[in-house]
């Protein structure tokens, strides 16, 4: 009885590392498509990135089509 329950628990266990990896993909992807206004490229290109808004322009149509506020 106790053994079969043990099998069940380990079978259902979702690995923490997988959750972390997927949580990173979730947040990064959501930010890039839904909200970036130059923030990510500004890490490399500085203030200019907020003028160019490359990712905003590139993801622009999907941002609208998926229902995010865009501008």
């Amino acid at each position: 009885m106790s053994q079969s329950r043990q099998i069940n628990v380990s079978k259902n266990g979702v690995p923490v590392i997988a959750i972390i990896a997927l949580a990173i993909v979730f947040s990064a992807g959501l930010f890039v498509v839904g909200f970036d206004q130059g923030h990510i490229f500004s890490l490399v290109y500085g203030e200019q990135a907020f003028q160019d808004m490359y990712l905003h322009e590139l993801t622009h149509d999907m941002r609208h089509a998926a229902g995010f506020p865009c501008h």
């Binding site: 997988a18 992807g29 998926a66």
Partner: protein
């Protein structure tokens, strides 16, 4: 659970469903976007910020082609992102979800998440085509939208857990969630930005956009269900006991 396999099939199904959505958008949503951006261009000409000449249109057409291909790429990225959230929830809830097969279970979860993190937030804060919305309020609108999605998603999860703990019927959890989200719907501030385009254009944009997002959720449920059923990432330990 096979960690790597699990992550890969989750990201693959999300990306594939996002590409489907992006491709559908080219057919169904882009016409409304082109129309709305066309109106924006007319405003630019009227204000003298751009000149209505062939040079402008050559640049514009090239830009829009780039932007439309970016839309499909963005579909893949957003698809993988939302798909990752879906994969996490599915891994935890698979055994408690109704449905006989893995595909049925994942379609049911896709339906629940479509309703709670997409449709209900969309009814409160519907999307708009380009040209609607004050640029000063974009951050505020983004925060309101995300907050409402989070309230709805965590609300649904919270009431489900509560009903499981108290061993009440599922219907009571649904009623609890409905009351909670109904209150949030009324209490959360409205988007007061003026609608500056014709309601015809806005409505056809919203209908097409809701349609392709719904296609995304159905595809996501199907893809993850089939891949999960085929690769069975959660069966590692039980089979090693045989």
């Amino acid at each position: 659970m096979k960690t790597f396999l699990f992550v890969i099939i989750v990201i693959a199904s999300g990306t594939a469903a996002g590409v489907v959505q992006g491709g559908m958008n080219l057919i169904f949503v882009e016409p409304s976007l082109d129309q709305a951006i066309g109106i924006e261009n007319q405003h630019l000409f009227a204000k003298g910020e751009a000149e209505d000449n062939s040079e402008f249109w050559i640049k514009y057409d090239g830009y829009r082609i780039w932007q439309k291909s970016g839309q499909v790429l963005a579909g893949a990225i957003l698809g993988a992102s939302i798909g990752s959230l879906f994969g996490i929830v599915f891994a935890f809830s698979k055994n408690s979800l109704p449905g006989k097969t893995t595909v049925q279970k994942s379609l049911i979860l896709a339906g629940i998440m479509w309703l709670t993190v997409y449709l209900i937030p969309f009814l409160k804060y519907p999307g708009n085509p380009p040209g609607v919305g004050e640029s000063e309020t974009v951050v505020l609108r983004g925060i309101l939208y995300l907050t409402f999605i989070a309230l709805s998603g965590f609300g649904a999860l919270g009431f489900y857990k509560l009903s499981k703990k108290l061993k009440t019927k599922k219907l009571i959890a649904v009623a609890g969630y409905a009351t909670f989200i109904g209150i949030a719907f009324i209490v959360m501030p409205q988007n007061h930005d003026p609608i500056t385009l014709s309601m015809d254009l806005i409505n056809s944009f919203r209908m097409m956009s809701a349609f392709t997002v719904s296609v995304y959720w159905i595809s996501l449920g199907l893809f993850l269900g089939f891949l999960w059923n085929y690769y069975k990432p959660d069966k590692e330990i039980s089979s090693s006991f045989h």
